[in-house]
Symmetry: C2
DNA sequence: CTGCATGCAAAAACTTTGCACCGCC
DNA sequence: GGCGGTGCAAAGTTTTTGCATGCAG
């Protein structure tokens, strides 16, 4: 693949953050480094990097898709109050694939899961009020 | 809430099918019963019924949102080959909420999970070829 | 009658794409 | 220099919304 400054910026930004940004957020954050970059290029590279397995696309939530530069398998949490998306530190749930396969005639290849509730910040804020 | 023929048709259709239709599919299928209904009304009622908890909205997949008239908690499977969305017969995975909460400072209220792989039809078709 | 729900169409939100140009190899 | 990547803008897809009208209560 041919090198491009734009793609490098996008990847570098995604590797540097844990905030699961949308395409628009990625665009805003690399604009200072690439004053002429276009949103279309950001989308093209996010799609490409996702296909290459360098990053992953999170479609599980409401609103625009989010992207995650953390390649290690992990699960996500979304706060019902403020909408924040956080990484969870937990072991793989691969055993649930077997539970799903038990009464199923096809083939289970994997799963995605996400959790919701109140994030640490919103949970503590509620106690105060 | 004020009665409406349109809303009743939408709900009746969703209760009658297991195919997890998109708003567009719902629209097409109730058009014969409501020749003048508009897609906007379908969206409005799907959103309303989701808020009331009568149906649920599935945002986990690529493409347009899907809707599910089956109120019983259950998990979904999506075929990587043909895209079909099926219900899975499996017990609740509520224990995974505890696993998620273990290293997390906020509050875990619930989870969603879906599985992917090959559906019964595509899996058997592949064996033949 | 009163007001919520509808039909219609415009617009918003998100994403992809065609095309000419630019820069890596 | 060739070709893949970019910028730009137009268009595609999905969903929401403003407004005038219509029907349930």
């Amino acid at each position: 693949m041919k090198y491009s400054k734009q793609r490098e910026s996008i990847l570098k930004y995604l590797r540097s953050t844990k905030c699961h940004p949308t395409a628009e957020t990625v665009y805003q954050n690399i604009l200072s480094e690439n004053p002429n970059i276009s949103l279309g290029t950001v989308y093209r590279n996010l799609t490409l990097l996702t296909e290459l397995g360098e990053i992953s696309k999170i479609t599980d939530f409401e609103g625009p898709d989010r992207f995650d530069g953390n390649n290690a398998p992990h699960y996500h949490f979304v706060c019902r109050e403020c909408g924040a998306v956080l990484d969870l530190e937990m072991d793989s749930l691969s055993h649930i694939n077997l539970l799903a396969a038990h009464n199923f005639n096809g083939t289970i290849e994997g799963h995605t899961a996400h959790f919701y509730g109140k994030c640490p910040h919103c949970a503590s804020h509620n106690l105060e009020s």
